[in-house]
Each structure stands twice: as C-alpha cells, then as structure tokens.
Amino acid sequence: MIALDKVSKNYGKNTSTFTALDKVSFEVTDGATVAIIGKSGSGKSTLMHVMSGLDSPSSGSVIIDGQPLQSLSQKKIDAFRANDMGFIFQSFFIEPNQTCLQNVLLPLEIAKVARGSRKPKALEALTAVGLDDKADNLAVSLSGGQKQRLAIARAIANKPRILFADEPTGNLDSATGEMIIKLLFSLNADLGCTLIVVTHDKDLALRCQKQIQIKDGKVQRIDQANQRTKKVVR
C-alpha cells in the first residue's frame, strides 16, 4: 500500500517560493488503478515524482508498505525503483538506435537481474505487448503506438508492483491510445500491479478505480469508481 501523509513540495527559496504540492494525503491499495487528474501545472507530475522517490517532499511523507520512503538511503530508493516500480512516459523515452530487446533489457540490467533470466523476461514482456516479432528490430523503425508498447514492455519487464504512467496516451492518436489503455488495464489485471496514471484524459481516468483530482497542488477531490463519492480532502 502507498500512503501519502501531508506531502508538500516547495520550489525556490525565501520570497520566491512556489508550492507544487500542498499537504497532499491519500492512500492507494495494492493492485488498484488510480488516475491523478488535473490541468497542466496543477502538480500531477510532481506528485508522481514524489510518490516514486524521484523527488523528495519538502514536508510530509510517502509511505510504501509501512516504510517511509524518505528514511531510505538514495541507493535503497534507487534499488526500490529498479525492483518494484515501472515507468511509462508520454514521450516514450526509448533508445532509437538500439533494438527493442536491448531497450527492454535496460531495467533488468539496472536491477541486476541474473543474466540467464534477462532475455526470457524481456521477451515475455515484448510478447505481452505484442512486439515479440520486433525484438531484433531497431526501435527507431517502430510506429508511435509500437514505441509506447515498447515503453510499456520495458516498464513491466521486471514485473514491478507499482506501474506509473505519465500521460501514456498523450502522444498517440485516439485509436492507438485506446489500444494502449486496454493494454495497461489488462496488465494491471494479469500482473496484479498497482497502476497509477497521470492524465488529462477523463475517459482514461474514469476507467480507474480511483480518481484523484489535483488543483494548484492540492487534492481537490477523490472519486471512487462506481461510487462517485465526492470526498473533499481539504
């Protein structure tokens, strides 16, 4: 379970401080699908960065499985991200001049997965996203949708417990975006991983079990799927 307790994030010093997150608190149960929604500059991405340990909160704490993330050393946070988290970005961030297989092998190398099991794991991930036949193709030759599927394969290769997706359909046409959304939810169902999606896309958000709306760094409301319960946190 991921729990955020009064997490704030401020940038700048003295008079020119900017509050990106303001005492944000909520919980995400294991295996849940959560959408973080809000306008540009509302603090969605900052929230994702803080939850994943890429950034540290100015105050408050992020607690994962009862362990405050900030109490861990940077090395342990890195290891935690390598072993338990997967990331999908709007801009794919794939290495175009390397093969699909080499792209997917990257997180497995970072996580120091045993050499013998890396390739089977990478191929399994490529199969899960339907790119097994492109394993030896250079990533540069893929279409936009295929690139995002490759990014997803890279994110799930090490079977993470938490999958962060930052605007996963932002750079895709609607048909391809739909395909990616279905893929993400099927992976959530198949792998049992927690899916946290940062998105503008209301349709995508509505498919998640929980929608956390952020505005000006504050949680505006949290909606539970099928309950439509408005819960004003602050």
Binding site: A79, R81, A82, F93, E109
Partner: protein, 450 residues
C-alpha cells in the same frame, strides 16, 4: 548495474554513434601512431647500438685514453695551447684539435696495476692500397683483430693465434681482387702497401712535381696470406665494414712504418684494458677507479653504451614530446565529445535514473565510453603504425644501411599494450568532468528536457 553491463552498454552506445566515435578516436590515433613509431625507432636504434657493442667489445675491457676528447668530452670552447708532441688532428666537426696520446710509459703504468689483466693496443692502419698480381689496386684499412670478436666467415678460418702475416679479408673484396669465390681466396697471397712516414723528406717530395713517382718509390709492400674470408657483418661500427683484420703484432709493424718520425709513433689515442674478473660490474668499476686515479680517462663499454642510448633517448624524447602534445590536443576532443554526448542524452540519463540506476553507475557509463574511445584510438593508431612499419622496415633499413637482419623499427607488444592502456586511463580522466555532469543531473529536470 554490473560493471560488465555498463561496459557493454557503453560500447553499444558508441556503436550507435559510429561517425562521432570514429572521428574522436582518429584524433587520438594520430598521436598514438606517432608515439608507436617513435618507440619502435628508439627500440631499433637501441638494439642496433647494443648489438654493435655486444658483437665488438669485451664487457670486461675498459677503453683508456689520456685525453677526454677521445670520448667527445672536454672543453672545446676555450683555446688549447699547442703541444708539438701531440700531433694535430681534425675533430669530428672538422676543426683542428690536439689529443694527448698514450705513450709506452703510460701503458707500462697501467699494466702494473693489480687489477689489470691485459693492455691491448687499438691499432688501425690506413693502407695505401691492397692488390694481387694482374688485379687493380684497392683502398683499404687494416685493424688488429679484437680477440673478443668472433666474426662470421664465408671461407677459411681464424688461426689461433692470428699472426705470421695472415689476415681476414672482407667478402666484398673477393670478386674485386679476381677470386671466383671466397674459398678460392683462402691461402692466396695479398700485397699490402703502406706509405712510410717520411718526416722532412716526405714534405720535400710533396713539393716536387714528380710527387706521385716519388711516392711510388717510397712505398713499402708486405705480403699477407688470406686465412679467412669474412661474411658481411650484421652489426659493426659504422665505417668498419670493409676492414681487413690481422694479428696485433703484424698491424703494429705496419703502424710503425706509417708513423715513424711523427708524433703518432708508438702513441695511441686509446687502448683496451682488460680488468681481471671485469665481467663483474663492481670489479670493473674498481679497476676503472684505479686507472682514473693514475690520471687517465677510462670508459667502460657500458658507459659508451649508456652514452649512445642517452643520445637516442633524448632524440626519442623530443619526437615523443610532439606526439604527446597531439594526444593532449585529442584529449580535449574527448572532453568535447563527451560533453555533447551528455547534453544529447539528457533525457536518456533521466530515464536511467528513473529506472533506478545509481548516479555512480551513470558516471561510470560515460567514463567507460571515454575509455572505449581511448582504446579505439590507441588500437587504430598503433595498428596502423605497426602495419606501416612492417611494410617499410626492409626498405628503411636498407636505405640507412643497417645491415642484413637489422631493422630500424622494432615493435614491442608490451610497449604497445602499455601505450593503449595509458590512453585508456588518459581518456577516462578526460571523461571525468562530463561524467560528473551526467551523474549529477537531476532526473526530473532531465526527463523534462525537450
């Protein structure tokens, strides 16, 4: 991330930017090429010197002289007072100079030392000519055979002892003197003609219009038997390739004929002094000290070898210096390339950090890339140098007349591997700052970079 994975990934990244990698490596290759050839030339020169020394000198012998100018030392910047007993010679640069020579008394003093086993005169006589019946006359020089020398023979043998007007003839004279092969020459007679020194008479003759006739009248000829024919020396002191060799007594006799009445008569620029047990360096040095105490200049073969090698090392240092400057210039190329690489791959760095890669490993990734560039540059430069060197070695060695079997460029693989490793280390240092920049990048800023 495992080191081996970082190493592989860094190599893979460089392969994906082939042109950039190749161009940066080529800049290093230029310096490496020059350094490899410099080292090879230095090795060749050193080996040549070492072999000349080994083949021609007894390590237990000292070269002893009365004047340090014999060894190219001494003060040449101040005028030297004239001494009629010295005789005047030309210095290597052509300037007139005088050298104090060793006399019979000097040799006796040296021989009396306990450490001294033997004193051997360094005798070389410029003959007027050599010939045999119905054959042309040839210019020649005869020298006393150094007992330490064991020259290769084409025919015949070296009598033990070499005396009774027997000599060794270089193979180059065989055909010129009308022999069909070296074997035919063995046992045949060769006439050695010298011009005796004539003091005042010779000077008078020199002014005469019939000088040539008069010289012919004064010439002295001695018949020598050819005991053996010498194969062309693989290594010899430059200029001695066509020397005839005979026993010390016979050469001494010729020397006396040519020097009688001159300041050179029974005087020697230098002699070879064998130290008892001189094979041992400490014993040799003790003997050297004894001789120096008597006021003579004594140089061991090792000193001569060191002196020559020092000259080679200085020349090598100058050329290597230029090559090193080229390498230093290429180091800036690596720094520049790596900085550009960090800038171009900012988002990749952000992604790797997001995926859990430690900052230390990010730094290593870029340093290893720099190391690969250094390795490639080193390998390309040294392989090109070796390839070119091996191709031109025969022509080069022939052009500068090093002799058969000797090469100017001698490649030492240990040196080449050492050079490449040094370049790898230099490249890693060059990649240090860019790698620090990469390691310190904020992953969030990096991921947001357009």
């Amino acid at each position: 991330m495992y080191i081996s994975d970082i190493l592989r990934r860094s190599g893979r990244t460089l392969r994906s930017a082939k042109v950039r990698t190749l161009l940066t490596s080529l800049a290093i290759a230029v310096g490496t090429f020059s350094l490899t050839l410099t080292l090879a030339a230095s090795n060749g020169a050193q080996q040549f010197v070492d072999q000349i020394i080994t083949d021609n000198f007894d390590p237990a012998e000292l070269i002893v002289a009365s004047d340090d100018r014999v060894f190219g030392q001494g003060d040449t910047s101040t005028p030297r007072e004239y001494d009629p007993s010295f005789g005047t010679i030309a210095s290597p640069a052509g300037a007139a100079t005088q050298i104090a020579r060793l006399t019979g008394d000097d040799l006796e003093r040296i021989e009396e030392l306990d450490a001294v086993e033997q004193v051997r005169k360094n005798l070389t006589v410029n003959l007027q000519y050599i010939t045999r019946p119905d054959q042309p006359k040839f210019v020649a020089t005869i020298s006393a055979l150094n007992p330490y020398q064991s020259p290769e023979l084409r025919a015949g043998n070296i009598p033990e002892p070499l005396n009774n007007r027997r000599l060794l003839l270089p193979e180059a004279y065989v055909a010129s003197l009308g022999f069909s092969n070296p074997q035919d020459a063995v046992g045949e007679t060769l006439a050695l003609t010298v011009l005796p020194s004539g003091g005042k008479i010779q000077q008078e003759l020199a002014r005469s219009e019939s000088y040539q006739v008069a010289i012919e009248d004064r010439l002295v000829t001695q018949d020598f038997t050819i005991a053996g024919v010498l194969a062309p020396p693989l290594t010899s002191q430059p200029g001695t390739e066509l020397y005839l060799y005979a026993g010390t007594q016979d050469v001494s006799e010729l020397n006396e004929i040519t020097t009688r009445g001159t300041p050179n008569y029974q005087r020697y620029n230098a002699v070879f002094v064998r130290i008892a047990g001189g094979e041992n360096t400490e014993t040799l040095q003790a003997g050297q000290a004894d001789i120096r105490e008597l006021g003579y200049v004594a140089q061991s073969v090792q000193d001569t070898q060191d002196f020559l090698n020092q000259i080679i090392a200085v020349l090598q240092g100058i050329v290597a210096g230029f090559a090193f400057i080229a390498i230093i210039a290429s180091v800036f190329g690596i720094i520049n390339t790596m900085y550009i690489s960090v800038l171009q791959r900012t988002r990749e760095i952000g992604l790797m950090k997001a995926l859990g890669m430690h900052s230390k490993d990010i730094g290593r990734l870029f340093r290893f890339e720099a190391a690969w560039i250094g390795f490639l540059g080193g390998a390309i430069g040294s392989l090109l140098a070796v390839g070119l060197g091996l191709a031109i070695n025969p022509w080069l060695s022939e052009t500068i007349e090093l002799g058969e079997g000797n090469y100017l460029l001698l490649f030492d693989w240990v040196e080449i591997v050492g050079l490449i490793l040094a370049l790898v280390v230099i490249s890693i240092l060059a990649g240090w700052l860019p790698s620090r920049k990469a390691a310190k990048l904020d992953p969030i800023v990096a991921l947001r970079t357009e």
